[in-house]
């Protein structure tokens, strides 16, 4: 009744092609941005920033990156953890080698470096597909972790093999290191997330995205209608790597502050991000957000309910959490293989027809 296109007149093609053609969607989007930029920074505390919002923002960027590769271009990747490690170590090397340059550019450059590495490991995708490609990217995961553990240059020859983020500021406000304010790290990550999401959304709606989807749906047919698989696949790897690199850099520099490659960027990380996009919805930007929110919030909610409210022993709650997350993944795959994004889409469709569904 109220959620519909009717009455919302558009007089230009640009207006007709905008991301949110329905007015109420558009309003919701602006309200979300307003809350995120103008309200949360003033109400945030350390716990909210470090336990919930920072991981959510950072994993959202990673999920968007992986979604471009897996969801839009159909190239299964299990190398996310390794690529995030590339972003983190690139950021560390840049931060320590060029301390006078702003951290903002270091994060962007780390994304660029990861994009190059990702393209390199994407080359086999031109010859191999599906499960075989997954195995090839798995090799990337293990190789990269091994490399960062093995070559001392990457961790500046520190005795422990750990990398630590030194203090860096943006406009005089520290965003990395121990003396950060939670609103500063939050806003820094939020800016990156918004930029990444806008770029990703518009790339996937344009020619590049259509080429990726054509390759995903049927690569031979795509080739026949003139899509160059080399370019399409490698751009998908590159763009995906760029986002994942940014998320890795933020993950290390802002969120954890000190990182050990095998522990922070192991194979579990690859699976976690993959689960995010599967639960959230393959081939959907909203799905990346929903999946990241789901998998970041669920353990925290379970912990708060189990330990703080019900007073159960911590180990039982930790085990229950594994059971519940596992069960939910299976349930989602059976009941809604297209993820949370599809639920959202169905809800919107129903709402559009409500209250006269016929």
């Amino acid at each position: 009744m109220f959620y519909r296109e009717a009455g919302d007149f558009k007089t230009t093609y640009a207006a007709d092609n905008q991301t949110f053609p329905i007015k109420i969607d558009r309003m919701g989007y602006y309200v979300a941005l307003l809350v995120a930029f103008l309200i949360i920074p003033f109400t945030i505390n350390d716990y909210w920033a470090n336990a919930i919002l920072l991981p959510f923002l950072i994993y959202s960027i990673a999920a968007i990156g992986l979604n471009i590769l897996v969801g839009y271009c159909g190239q299964v990747s299990l190398g996310t953890g390794g690529f995030m490690a590339v972003g983190a170590y690139a950021c560390y090397k840049l931060m320590t080698s060029f301390p006078e340059v702003s951290i903002f550019f270091h994060v962007l450059l780390s994304g660029g470096i990861t994009a190059l590495v990702c393209i390199l490991f994407g080359l086999p995708s031109l010859r191999i597909k599906g499960f075989y490609l997954a195995v090839a990217t798995l090799a990337a995961q293990f190789f990269l972790v091994w490399l960062f553990n093995r070559v001392p240059w990457f961790y500046n020859y520190s005795a422990s093999g750990q990398i630590n983020a030194p203090e860096r500021t943006v406009f005089g406000v520290p965003v990395t290191g121990p003396n950060t304010e939670s609103w500063a790290t939050y806003l820094f990550c939020l800016v990156f997330l918004v930029i990444c999401a806008l770029v990703a959304r518009n790339l996937t709606r344009g020619m590049a995205g259509r080429k990726w989807m054509a390759i995903r749906d049927m690569d031979i047919a795509a080739e026949i209608i003139g899509v160059n698989p080399l370019k399409a696949k490698l751009t998908a790897f590159g763009v995906s790597g760029f986002f994942i690199g940014i998320s890795g850099a933020l993950f290390f520099a802002l969120y954890l502050g000190a990182v050990e490659v095998g522990e922070a960027f192991g194979i579990q990380k690859s699976f976690l991000v993959l689960f995010m996009i599967i639960i959230g919805g393959l081939g959907s930007i909203f799905g990346s957000f929903a999946g990241a929110a789901f998998l970041v919030l669920l353990p925290v909610v379970l912990k708060v309910v189990g330990v703080d409210w019900l007073g159960w022993p911590t180990d039982i709650v930790a085990h229950l959490q594994l059971v519940i997350v596992g069960g939910l993944i299976v349930m989602f795959l059976i009941l809604e293989p297209h993820g949370l994004a599809q639920l959202w889409r169905v809800a919107k469709q129903k709402l559009r027809l409500w209250p006269f569904p016929h």
């Binding site: 350390d46 093999g161 957000f289 309910v305 911590t314 180990d315 085990h319």
Partner: protein, 427 residues
């Protein structure tokens, strides 16, 4: 999504409601995952000691203690979440029992003004209190451990290690890499040959490392392992018939559960330690009476007297004594984290004190000072007897090579200070 945030907001506020007038000791434990075998007895010992204080003495200085347990799973991300969720409740001292989480928390705790005690783990150079104002690692560090092992070998081999071949099997992480620098320095000094064999997390895959040991036939194997890695290493050593008495683990590789699975073949395996083993101490009778029999034990109550249970209890004892010291210094029973830090820095453990607590001869006597947060670094050696299934101390708590270690600590901590623009304190 917004609904979830709203519910979460309410939840967090309810969870963070401040409860004053008790001494809060967070326990970042891990009872799940590949390192749980070590995490459980340590967490039980830590919790039971505080329960004992509450039940028997009514807390510390009349103020009851409150233990906040938070499951980290040995995972740094969960460690951050645990730290943030507990620090608002007036947490007095953090003991993360994980070198990875320690590295993360060192700058955070310093910025928040909360002390951290990493007993026998963490960043060794934090022993330099001039740089690491809020981090303590008394009574011993990994570098003391490395030097203690070499000293023990020196004594065994008549003071000469020239041409002696030593292989270090280590967990490929910040924890396992910790002793390498010290061993390399000691190698120059004593002339033994050192070979490094990293084992990746979690440590179930060690076939190739032990194949290499079989080929190279080192005289001694040292191990820096934790969790499931220990059991696998001892089993593999038994499989290649490596003589167990030449196999020495760090103190995190020398608990009952590490050796039991290899059965009789593990007989003679050695491990370092910085505190005593066994359950022949009066305190365990009190724990049995006030905690276990009263049904208030943290775990199943079956871990008492285990090496890691003792260590968890020892850690709790040191924390409680530091809290007492802080209460004396500041003349108030309800102490803050800043007071706790002063108490830790002024901590003095004497033989009489330990005997009075029902723990005679349990650990070394030592004094913490502003400059030295690392304690005396005395290292003993224990050996496993597979028949009676007990660990026994086979050496005294001996001095380690502070000449080498002190220089390394100075170098590493100064590098950290200049990297992070830290001003030296204690002047």
């Amino acid at each position: 999504m917004k609904m979830k945030f709203a519910t979460m907001a309410v939840t967090a506020m309810m969870a963070a409601a401040p409860a004053m007038a008790d001494l809060v000791f967070p326990s970042l434990s891990y009872r799940t995952g590949p390192y749980a075998a070590g995490g459980i007895p340590f967490a039980d010992g830590y919790a039971d000691y505080f329960t004992l204080l509450n039940e028997r003495d009514g807390g510390i200085g009349g103020v009851p203690t409150r233990l906040l347990e938070c499951e980290t799973g040995y995972n740094t991300e969960k460690g951050v979440e645990c730290y943030e969720s507990t620090k608002g409740e007036g947490a007095l001292v953090y003991q993360p029992l994980s070198t990875g989480i320690t590295y993360q928390l060192i700058p955070k705790t310093t910025a928040d003004g909360i002390p951290m005690h990493t007993m026998g783990y963490g960043r060794t150079s934090a022993a330099n209190g001039k740089v690491f104002s809020h981090t303590f690692n008394y009574p011993g560090t990994y570098w003391n451990g490395a030097s203690g092992a070499i000293n023990y070998l020196l004594a065994e081999n008549g003071g000469d290690l020239n041409g002696h071949k030593i292989a270090l099997v280590y967990h490929n992480s910040a924890y396992g890499k910790e002793p390498i620098r010290t061993l390399e320095e000691l190698q120059k000094k004593h002339g033994f040959e050192l070979s490094l064999l990293p084992v990746d997390h979690p440590g179930q895959e060690q076939k190739s490392q032990w194949l290499q040991i079989r080929r190279e036939k080192p005289d001694t194997v040292l191990m820096w392992g934790w969790g499931v890695m220990n059991q696998v290493a001892i089993q593999e050593a038994a499989n290649i018939r490596f003589p167990m008495e030449n196999f020495i683990g760090i103190w995190w590789s020398g608990a009952e559960h590490d050796v039991l699975s290899a059965g009789a073949k593990a007989n003679g395996y050695k491990a370092l330690t910085f505190h005593n083993v066994g359950r022949d101490f009066p305190i365990f009778d009190d724990i049995q009476k006030y905690v276990v029999d009263a049904g208030k034990a943290a775990g199943a109550g079956d871990q008492i007297g285990n090496v890691l249970y003792n260590r968890g209890m020892y850690a709790a004892m040191l924390a409680a004594e530091a809290a007492k010291t802080a209460q004396e210094i500041h003349g108030t029973a309800d102490i803050t984290p800043a007071m706790m830090r002063d108490g830790m820095e002024a901590l003095s453990i004497t033989e009489e004190k330990m005997a009075g607590l029902g723990m005679p001869n349990f650990g070394p006597s030592f004094d913490v000072s502003c400059e030295n947060h690392g304690g005396p670094g005395l290292v003993g050696v224990t050996q496993w007897d597979a028949d009676s299934q007990t660990w026994s101390l086979i050496s005294d708590f001996a001095e380690t090579d502070m000449e080498v270690i002190g220089a390394l600590i100075e170098e590493d901590s100064n590098a950290y200070a200049s990297e992070n623009n830290i001003e030296m304190s204690c002047n």
